[in-house]
Symmetry: D2
Subunit: 473 residues, 4 copies
């Protein structure tokens, strides 16, 4: 790496990431994290981003090729990242002092922003979904045997994993609708049903799936009917029926699978946390993951803005005799983007701190806010950048088209915006009755004050119309 | 076709297209066009839309396959369309009484709305870009020889054509920037340079390219430097370097090519209209094409709304115990979409009438308005429909994801929104000085009236503060 | 008037209104209406707009003054308008051949656009709300006695009228909630209750109120419980408790009153149409009124855009050394405004034609669309114009601040947007089930076609993962 | 105050302000400030808000009355505030340890949020503009004599002050345009010219104006031509020509004046900081003021949201048989408002910290961001709340209409959005060239990697078309 062109600490006045943290977040970042942050930025800009296009081309063209590929460049990046100590930063130190790299959610958040600029960086540092959430699950709830079998190789980046929750036939944004059947048969569960948007199942290296099913469909408590179980990917009866595309992209080799379960037998020792505790497993998993997504989205937005800025300064692009950067409309969009990204970042960091100071449950409101705010922001900013590029912007020549697909999809992943809005709205609405009372009490006090200050109660606007209006005409 | 399920005139109360034309447009539509319109609707809904997925699957998977394919189902659709008299409706009767089907731009517009609902319908009725524009060019400006060689087989749907204008190295939204060199060499022009976003070049059936180049680079009038020439697609020296993707889609088999010209010799008899008249050729081509795009977009938006409506009534999708159609937020988006589509349609139809009553030049303002309004509308409405589908919406299971790509791209095709906005803004701004004078004259008249009605000129709000304000404290 | 500066037909190239009608609307406008239209434009620009500020200043300052004033300039304008034949243009010829000026709703619509540019023009031409709607009611449903007593002087501009429907204690956007009690007592109704937003009651010249009350509260049909009755404004028991302001403006002298009814006795001969038919009366009244509002709003938007254009060409306003019109952001907003106004106008005109070809019921969808689309458009455009003026824009020095108040309020008047959106959404949603069936049928046909064309049914994306994925690592 | 109904610490579960500070801001707030914050909330909710309507009514009706009034209730509120130690919190402790209450900008910011909920609270705690900025100026730059004469009584709330910068004839958003002439005449300056939007001049208690004029018009450095001078409000030659209204509101008694200077002689001892240093004076004044405005706006937005929440829970408002809070569209707007307010607050607090850690210059970007983001947020949220109230929302019955006026105006005050956007955009654009280089370098590294990994350079999409495309047809 010593021979890399020094892109980020160049003499062109680049200010390192550690010095660009919002002032309000600084008290929460340790000197060690600051140092790592700068290393992450350098690794992403100098190693990962140049590798992105190489990795993508190495995947090949047909579906069969693309979901069987495992380009060598990824292993080389992983080796570099490990050597630099950029590995497993996502596991927060308050809960996973031993397994992870020892950073807080906030500290990892500001690093994830840089990972979000590259297609390859998250996997290269072993911080890629759905492995991150799955590792958290194993670390938190796994038996020693499960940890040995799955967590260890995941932490080492030797295998990958899938997460299977959503189902095609039901409205999965409401997880109580989930139907995949888990029937007991002695020491085994027998699984039957379908999953889709099964993230990670496309990859040949994926060895384990976390699957949520309905093990106790008649339980009176509808949040106790589900169980999560770890399923070895080579268990008979599992068929990856097809891979789903996302606005034209296949996200190979990891991808999003439509998976059929046909009498898949899994030993009960693979149950996570306990039968009937599937909801608990899944909910603990979501909070930090949303923060990771959100901070990567902030990073992606910064990258889109950088491309935008580069374009308007491209000396070859001078429509109507003026550099694009001299068109006021472009500067206005850049300014708006700057404002929106900075606002989004603060919201995510605040949510991360809330998680650090308690847990994801503690930060429900903040996470929901971020879940709505950030993807919309990213979609908007990528869209603006594309527009500045004209036709080039929608083509494969720039990363923006692919980013647009991811950005749009973020508004749906982990529950569409509307679900989070509804939850936020209902939560706020709880204050409604108390506020009605407060405002009423304030009005009464106003009446008392009017009396106290001897101000006539009559409405000063009252008109007398009884005395012949016609007389005036 | 008699065995087709009757989708559009079914007893479920479907009102045929001819009866859903906006009241304000009716005086402009002949009874014959009304009848054709209903036939188009029926053909699109019952034949083309079901064929869309078949056609797409038949194209294959690799680039090489997809750009060499020519699925039989398309020829079968074309045969049906011809038999139904649904052929070449795009050629307006006022200019092309002989070549086309004899409809006005407005009449074709309301038909194009239905073509826009399907991937296959435009080609099936020989109304697909860029052939439509190219046929207009040949019909309007072509020599007899050119017509015989290119126009006839195009009108018959036997060959296809490409249009090559945009270049990768310059800001092509300003067409004076175009650089492809055309040097005279006896009776020939020798072409050197690159084109991209060359629509139609991917297709094996494409036999002719219309190419704009710079034949007279030192002409003092920068609108006289260009020439358009018809180039046989198998002329030596032409290389299709690669096909460009559009937000993840390749639009095969027609596609968007990046094409190199390396000493391509073309006989001067292929020049269109005349040397140095390239601008004239190109400009006449754009107006109606924009109307076609716009009306197809209106149709696409209607289709997206139909999918939206179908989804919120899907009995299996009941998040939180309520049908989606019972969620007020969904109804509000549906209503908003209804308003926006209807407004857009009126704008396009009005522009079409302007073209019918004069020509595209006559309708510059109206076309520019439509060019900006319609793609944004479509993008928004497709986006809303996708959101109602959740993850399914971005997948290949519904046409919405593909439509999103097309919708977004429409904001760039034929010049990005900003170019049209700038042109519209400048045009409006011409009135500025006259308006400043008018407002000034109105103010002076107000002064005269105040005097006439004996109203004091003093400002009634004037305050006297000189007499010791302190005295009041 | 011969001495007026010729503002609108000046040699600066002004194109008269009759030549700026959208092409699509022309078949619906008679030569007589075209001539009147130009006369309206001239009257508004040269007489009314200069009079606006004079009229406003003549009203005085205190509430008592402002709601007792009746400036002479208004009577002078009315005299001029009558002389020019610009009187009662609002009464559509298909229903009121005798009473009105003989124009269609569409023809009056394009005139109303010009009236909407001035504070005084509507009243000056006897086309001001709520008199217009009230005159329609009397003309359509009134007895001969009622016509003689109220309609005649209203048509002659000798008296004014009020319309009293909304009540402060209930959600009046749903008119079945209305509570003002009408108890029979022999030949009389006795009215008790409150009304607010009683338009027109502030004016001393207002002689009659149309009041909707609940006369039959126990009727099983909740649309038969209401009666509309004409009440002489000097009937004992009526108190105008206060006048309501609208975002800081009092809209004097007509205004919006909060009115108390305390045992107000009204003879039954004043009932309109019949007891229990209040809904019928009120609903017939609303449609055309919404079109009038909408077209005036289009005119107001044009005026705001004219002020915008004048400002950016003001030679004294050169922030940062550039004329405002050279700032791209300003031109972009002007272009956007142009697009939005033109789209709104077409929507209103189309709705007007629907009414002309049937009645308001026939045009429910179109009216609801316009009711939502137009006020938002106006609010947005006035807001942009204000921004171009900076602080001046919010002050009394330009008409924009006052227009902003009216524009915002339009989104609430005659039912807030949300009510119309809900109605539109529900109406569209009726198609949902049929569309679900259609799409299902199309999918089935696709399956049949795949079979017919011998295309394998297998999903080409299927992956085989059972054969040891680990072997590849 | 002991008898006040306890509105904010009631048993209905109200969480005090100190516990609702965003987690990310907590490290910056001292225990003392937390205590004061709760006292501010209590004072505002229980004393000021009930007093708002009383104060407004006490002002009277005519301009003359309203700008001469000084209601006793304000002095009573001031006495209470002083007694509670809620006085002069705005003066930041790092620069004004002696003069102020000893809080940081951030600490005052979170208090100002509560002041922003009331019309009277800012003045009641001596934290009202323009006095705050003027006191900062005197404290920072004033001579001992100036401090004694003006600062002391301002700090004690005995007098008020005006700030006069904007001029009607020029584009004042660019302050170099300012023209008011200051000619030397011995020990005096003689002032001639006009000012408008002169905040504070309406009030009878205003004793001093800070006036910016042009003292050295020929200075080569256009930022050295201006001088700020303190002018006693009773100096001969000053005429308050009229008061300007703001979207229909007069903001009496403080107001916005149009002031004429006619040979106004002011002794040079009144010059602030020094001749030619006017820009310096003015610029230091603006940063914190923008933060104050912004935090008050956040508070106003919270208040609007509270009114919104109260309304949707009003049991009397049930359009179409459903409580407004059961309408999904209302919950969605509430959620959106929650997200936007919380995001805005974080942005302001971060900017405040930047100022605390340096000065306003240090925080230019952050202040500009907030200046654009916050007023738009407020305008939007007030608008939504108004819509939930229907017609009531635009009337004088709720504080929302008045808030709408203030919110809109905020987008213009201290420079319209566009000026800040332009500045932000240009600032960002400085990075453009470096980013272009970085992206270019990354592309080159990609090329090197392709070579290193032995991946063919050929474009995999290349098509061969030279071999007879016709053969396929």
């Amino acid at each position: 790496m010593t021979s890399s062109p020094c892109l980020v600490n160049s003499p062109n006045g680049h200010i390192p990431a550690s010095q660009r943290i919002p002032a309000i977040a600084r008290p929460f970042v340790s000197p060690r994290a600051l140092k790592t942050l700068d290393a992450v930025e350098k690794f992403v800009e100098e190693e990962c981003i140049p590798a992105d296009a190489v990795y993508n081309q190495a995947l090949g063209e047909t579906t069969q090729e693309r979901f069987s590929a495992h380009p060598q460049i990824m292993e080389d990046l992983k080796a570099k990242a490990k050597q630099l100590g950029l590995w497993n930063m996502f596991l927060p130190r308050n809960h996973f002092a031993n397994e992870g790299a020892g950073y807080s959610n906030l500290e990892y958040g500001i690093m994830a922003e840089y990972l979000g600029r590259s297609l390859t960086a998250s996997e290269a540092t072993n911080c890629a979904a759905p492995d991150t959430g799955n590792m958290e699950v194993f670390a938190k709830y796994g038996t020693e045997e499960q940890k040995k079998k799955w967590l260890r190789p995941l932490l080492d980046g030797e295998i990958r994993s899938g997460f299977l929750m959503t189902e095609p036939q039901v409205a999965s944004s409401d997880a109580t609708n989930i139907e995949l059947s888990m029937k007991e048969d002695g020491d085994y569960f027998v699984l039957n049903g379908q999953k889709w948007w099964a993230s990670g199942v496309g990859d040949l290296r994926t060895k384990v799936f976390l699957v949520m099913g309905k093990s106790d469909p008649t339980n009176a408590n509808k949040y106790k009917q589900q169980t999560v179980i770890a399923v070895s990917s080579d268990t008979p009866g599992i068929t990856i029926k097809r891979m789903l595309s996302v606005l034209g992209y296949d996200d190979a080799p990891h991808g999003h699978g439509h998976v059929y379960f046909d009498n898949v037998r899994v030993h009960k020792s693979n149950v996570i946390l306990g039968e009937g505790r599937g909801f608990e497993v899944v909910q603990g998993r979501l909070g930090p993951g949303r923060i990771h997504h959100a901070m990567r989205s902030v990073g992606a937005a910064e990258k889109a803005l950088e491309y935008f800025l580069a374009r308007v300064n491209d000396p070859r692009k001078r429509p109507f005799g003026k550099q694009l950067s001299e068109h006021g409309i472009m500067l206005e969009r850049i300014a708006r983007s700057r404002i929106e990204i900075d606002a989004a970042r603060l919201a995510v960091l605040n949510a991360a701190i809330m998680i650090d100071q308690g847990d994801a449950k503690h930060a429900l409101k903040e996470i929901a806010e971020v879940k709505v705010q950030v993807p919309r922001m990213l979609q908007e900013i990528v869209d603006r950048a594309i527009q500045a590029y004209g036709a080039g912007g929608v083509s494969q020549d720039f990363p923006l088209a692919n980013m647009a697909s991811g950005a749009r999809t973020m508004r749906i992943v982990d529950g569409p915006d509307e679900v989070h809005m509804l939850q936020l709205g209902r939560n706020e609405n709880k204050r409604g009755k108390a506020l009605l009372s407060k405002i009423e009490a304030q009005k009464q006090k106003t009446q008392a004050l009017l009396k106290q200050y001897d101000m006539e109660e009559k409405d000063i606007l009252q008109l007398d119309r009884r005395s012949g209006p016609s007389s005036k005409l």
